[in-house]
């Protein structure tokens, strides 16, 4: 009896620990949740590689039946380490899919990569918290021949890296007129107020005049992919895809011939508003704009997103940055690529007593207004004087918006965000290419010959191939194959390859064959799924 109670209590304890989270999970908690998912028969967890920092890069494959030969959607989390929400959204998508939408995996395979930046992610739970992008490789970010010579320092010992401001007439920053917590750059209309230098928190360890320019972090995953790779810039690496985790991920993805779309939880957003088509850039040899048909698809899916997600877009200007995963997935891997941060700071209601109405609203000022309206107290470290060894006779203060606050919502909001984004991904899945045979007709001709004609329909809102994907060798063509031997086929092809079928496009096929019996007709590709037809002559 006693043992029963204890195990029951333990069960509920574990249950509540798992499902009654109060904050974004640490790496161990993520592993536990993934291993719990792995126990389900529709889920398989694998480790693609272990990072240099000793952390596994996980891949979760969700689906039933012939997993490799039906369309798949890949969901990415942790492309940016400081975007802890993204990992939680990826995880919750997998959990909700398995628990609440088991039938969805019959038609679509889902690949979930919850965290591509485990070392950077873990800075959220570290003793010294700051927004980190880089992994644990050694990289000389300022290329001066010295390694890691100028990291952050926690000058006010509060466990956060924020900013420091130094009163200095030659400084380029002033306090924001409406909110003197914020520092803004001066412009030529500034009135005669106190001026400051502003840096991130730290000391100039190598005395080169720059602060924290060579951090103890390595390559940022989301700056290291091949599209517009920013060579020689900090955090990018010596060349694109140089790190174990990016190589392992890409090696794996190049083997998943059935992925037709990516949904990346990251800073770029082409769902609130679609990308723009630029004819001149699209025609260049190095394609620099999404192609016209694909922008049309983006518009459709963007509408789908805005109808499913309740948050109205605000200040969503990031539509891709150099070397990021979101653009790689489309421009270099040829698949449909969608990205959203999942959440952003909504537009704060404007202050009715604002005197200087012409003042530009910045992300930071909007955030502080919104935080006030939401009664979030603990978002700002108050400016506090400290003694700074590099500025002996000057007034130096440490303060600023706490890290992680602007990109990641309070954890209580995550539940509804996860529900909406799960719904969106499932709706996207319902648009996937779907090949069907219709209107089979068998005519008997003279001499025992038979003419077979049939329609192949892509009964879907999306084409089989994106316009760019059609050019890529990494997407298979639609292969139509009739199971008769070549001698039996008098007209028509035994194997035919079709490079693309549009949404709702029909292709009529016909053959003249000799003889009787059962023939099989099969059409498709791994990323479109296959249609099969039995033909009884």
């Amino acid at each position: 009896m006693m043992r029963h109670t204890i195990s029951l209590l333990l069960f509920f304890l574990v249950h509540t620990l798992v499902f009654a989270q109060a904050d974004y999970p640490n790496l161990n908690e993520i592993t536990n949740r993934l291993e719990a998912l792995d126990k389900n028969s529709n889920a398989t967890l694998s480790t693609l590689t272990t990072t240099r920092g000793g952390n596994p890069i996980y891949a979760l494959k969700l689906g039933t039946g012939d997993l490799e030969n039906k369309p798949a959607i890949a969901v990415m989390g942790g492309v940016e380490g400081y975007h802890v929400l993204s990992t939680e959204l990826a995880l919750q998508f997998a959990e909700r899919l398995i628990q609440n939408h088991p039938q969805a995996v019959e038609h679509t395979t889902f690949l979930v990569f919850p965290n591509m930046s485990p070392e950077a992610y873990e800075q959220y739970h570290a003793k010294l918290k700051y927004e980190r992008r880089g992994n644990s490789s050694n990289l000389n970010h300022d290329r001066d021949g010295f390694l890691n010579e100028d990291p952050y320092e926690d000058l006010n010992k509060d466990g956060f890296i924020t900013q420091m401001r130094i009163e200095n007439p030659t400084g380029q920053y002033v306090m924001h007129p409406n909110d003197n917590r914020l520092m803004v750059e001066i412009d030529t209309s500034s009135s005669d107020v106190k001026r400051y230098q502003v840096f991130s928190e730290g000391i100039d360890n190598d005395k080169d005049g720059k602060y924290n320019e060579d951090l103890i972090e390595g390559v940022a995953f989301n700056k290291s992919l091949t599209y517009n790779f920013p060579a020689f810039e900090p955090l990018a690496g010596d060349f694109a895809v140089s790190q174990k985790e990016s190589r392992a991920l890409l090696d794996y993805l190049f083997q998943q011939w059935n992925i037709f779309a990516f949904v990346t939880f990251g800073p770029a957003n082409n769902l609130s508003s679609p990308l723009n088509y630029n004819a001149a850039k699209a025609k260049k040899r190095i394609v620099a704009s999404p192609l016209e048909d694909d922008v049309a698809i983006n518009k459709t899916i963007s509408e789908l997103y805005n109808n499913t997600v309740s948050q109205k877009p605000y200040m969503q200007e990031n539509q891709g940055t150099d070397g990021d995963f979101f653009q790689w997935a489309y421009f270099h891997f040829g698949r449909l690529s969608f990205s959203t941060p999942g959440w952003w700071v909504p537009e704060a209601k404007q202050d009715s007593i604002s005197t200087e109405s012409k003042l530009k609203v910045t992300k930071a000022s909007n955030f502080l207004n919104w935080a006030k309206q939401e009664s979030l107290d603990d978002v700002f470290v108050k400016w506090q004087k400290i003694n700074h060894p590099d500025f002996e006779n000057k007034t130096v203060e440490v303060g600023g918006i706490k890290p992680f606050m602007v990109m990641n919502p309070p954890f209580s909001k995550v539940d509804s965000i996860a529900t909406e984004h799960t719904d969106f991904i499932l709706k996207l899945a319902r648009y996937q290419p779907k090949l069907e045979f219709h209107n089979l007709k068998i005519e008997s001709l003279k001499g025992g010959l038979k003419r077979i004609s049939v329609d192949l329909l892509n009964n879907a809102n999306l084409p089989t191939h994106s316009q760019l994907g059609e050019r890529s060798r990494w997407l298979q063509k639609v292969r139509i194959e009739l199971s008769a031997s070549k001698e039996k086929i008098l007209t028509g092809n035994q194997i035919e390859l079709v490079s693309k079928m549009d949404a709702f496009e029909t292709k009529t096929l016909s053959w003249i064959v000799k003889g009787n019996g059962n023939l099989k007709l099969k059409a498709g590709a791994p990323h479109t799924g296959f249609a099969e037809l039995n033909i009884n002559l």
Binding site: T226, F232, A240, V241, S242, I286, L468, L475, K477, Q494
Partner: protein, 577 residues
């Protein structure tokens, strides 16, 4: 009696030994510029398989342990070691700190002679180290990193399996080339079992070719209004998978020379690109080695065909990467190369050939700031010193008639083809055209080696030219050191300087108390730039070619001080008072 026998035996043995060496001396007589009694016997009029290459490298390493180091820099797709020979005078300085020249060959599996030319270089340098003052000093000053083949798997496949002169070109990965879901389902077929993939032709009333009545090997294209007899069907093969195409999907297709991490583009932009930069183990092995050896200042990657000395940019979009200063250095070295190798021309890839993204020479220069050429070896000019153009059938048949006596051509023979019916198979063998015939191999190897030696010679050579002292009073003095670079190449190319690819050169003084340190920008007018942090080690961004730089310290004390120059690509030199 015993004494006599003893002495007599000694006499006999000595006589025997002397006669042996005298015999050898009598057998061979020096041909100028070539070792006539090499420790390693090698034949330079034939090609080597992977085993042959490894064998030669091991022999050279064994014969010259103080001049060479043999190591594997990585493994190929089929798990073969990619071997490198480091050639330098290991008794003078650390080879991995001397200015170095990197040489590789055979990145395209069918472009085989780069391996022989690289091996010839390693052989020649070691065999002539004792003989020639120039080579002796060269190996004291410089290091050569020589990798004869960076595509060992497919080199062997090209040689041992039926191939055209152009295949496989890639490594041995088998990919889906036609998007039908299958890989390698329809490669070449050696229908006549001669280990060559030659041409198929067929008699046809609509054919545009006839056979030359005077030379049955030759196909002539008829005039537009004339009837021909033969049609060209293509390379030997059958439609294996019944999709209506012949030879559309064999080994490959991908191009290892599109796998390098500078302005890399995916396959639909750049045909042959694989997954991402250095996604192939062979190229990754080279990249890892180069990143670990910042002393590499110059490089050569051998290809065929064309008789060219190529520099980048590989793509027009990358024009800005090469600026005037560096182009001047490229020009100076390559123009000398044109003189050394008559028939070879100095060209720029994107302008004179075609745009290429992700090529090896682009990464070596754009990504690492290393002055790099690719020589396209072999050109028809070498046959008769005529510019008849590439693949001129008449000229080639003349070569095979008068110089190679039929070894190059497979005579036309009838064959019954499953899809085409009655055809004829014949044509030039895979090892004719792109590959040198045996009699041309050693000369071209020597000339191209000479070019790479000239290139290596022009890597920086630093010395402390002059050190002056000036008394400032109060126990202080000014020490000014002049550092000279007496070769063409600067210690940092302008691409290197633009992006800080390599660390600055470090000029340090020890044995004195340093009060201040500075770079002297103009000695005549006393323009200096102080380095406030760590003045004992002056960080100099660059020491230009054929030029000097001056650094200065204000020191106290220091009766016997030492000056050290540490440059990644310039090497290490010291000066003691």
């Amino acid at each position: 009696m015993k004494n006599f026998e003893y002495t007599f035996s000694i006499f006999l043995i000595t006589l025997l030994m002397l006669s042996n060496s005298t015999n050898a001396q009598e057998k061979f007589f020096r041909a100028i510029g070539t070792p006539h009694q090499p420790k390693v016997e090698a034949s330079w009029n034939r090609y080597n398989t992977y085993d042959g290459i490894v064998d030669l490298m091991q022999k050279i390493a064994k014969a010259y342990p103080k001049l060479t180091r043999l190591e594997s820099i990585g493994k190929s797709v089929e798990d073969r070691d990619i071997y490198m020979l480091t050639v330098s005078d290991f008794g003078t300085g650390d080879p991995d700190k001397k200015p170095a020249m990197y040489i590789d060959g055979n990145i395209h599996s069918n472009e085989i002679q780069g391996a022989e030319f690289s091996l010839y270089t390693a052989w020649y340098l070691t065999e002539m180290f004792e003989d020639l003052e120039f080579i002796n000093q060269l190996l004291k000053d410089k290091t050569f990193y020589i990798v004869p083949t960076i595509n060992p798997d497919a080199r062997d496949n090209y040689m041992k399996e039926p191939n055209t002169p152009h295949s496989p070109r890639s490594g041995m990965l088998v990919l889906d080339n036609d998007g039908d879901g299958q890989s390698g389902e329809d490669g070449y077929n050696d229908l006549n079992n001669d280990n060559h993939i030659t041409y198929m032709i067929r008699k046809s009333p609509t054919g545009r070719y006839i056979k030359d009545p005077q030379d049955g090997r030759r196909l002539i294209q008829v005039e537009a209004e004339e009837q021909g007899e033969y049609e060209m069907l293509g390379f030997e093969g059958v439609d294996v998978d019944g999709d209506g195409n012949v030879n559309e999907d064999g080994v490959g297709y991908y191009d290892p020379n599109r796998d390098w991490g500078w302005k890399w583009q995916p396959d639909y932009v750049q045909r042959g690109a694989y997954k991402y930069p250095f996604s192939l183990p062979e190229t990754r092995a080279v990249a890892d080695f180069v990143l670990k050896h910042p002393n590499i200042a110059g490089a050569q990657s051998y290809h065929n065909y064309g008789g060219m000395i190529l520099r980048g940019p590989g793509a027009e979009e990358d024009k800005d990467t090469y600026n005037r200063e560096d182009v001047r250095i490229y020009d100076a070295i390559a123009k000398k190369g044109e003189e050394m190798i008559p028939g070879y021309r100095y060209l720029t890839v994107y302008k004179d050939l075609y745009s290429v993204f992700g090529g090896e020479l682009d990464w070596f220069y754009g990504g690492r700031g290393i002055y790099t050429y690719t020589n396209e070896l072999m050109v028809s000019y070498l046959y008769f010193h005529k510019n008849e153009g590439r693949g001129n059938q008449e000229e080639e048949l003349k070569v095979d008639k008068y110089l190679t006596f039929g070894d190059a051509f497979v005579e036309w023979e009838k064959f019954e083809h499953p899809q085409y019916g009655g055809i004829e198979i014949g044509g030039f063998k895979k090892n004719f055209g792109r590959a040198h015939p045996g009699f041309l191999l050693e000369q071209d190897a020597h000339r191209n080696m000479a070019f790479t030696i000239y290139h290596a010679y022009q890597t920086p050579k630093l010395s402390v030219l002059d050190v002056t002292e000036k008394d400032l009073g109060s126990g202080l003095k000014e020490v000014t050191a002049t550092i000279s670079n007496e070769r063409l190449m600067p210690t940092h190319s302008s691409q290197d300087l633009k992006y800080n690819i390599e660390r600055p050169d470090l000029i340090s003084i020890s044995g004195a108390n340093v009060v201040a340190g500075m770079i002297v920008e103009d000695d005549d007018f006393n323009k200096v730039k102080e380095q406030i942090q760590n003045p004992e080690t002056i960080r100099v961004p660059n020491i230009p070619g054929m030029d000097t730089i001056k650094v200065r310290w204000i020191v106290s004390g220091g009766r016997n001080f030492k000056i050290n120059v540490d440059s990644a690509k310039g090497g290490i030199v010291s000066w003691n008072k």
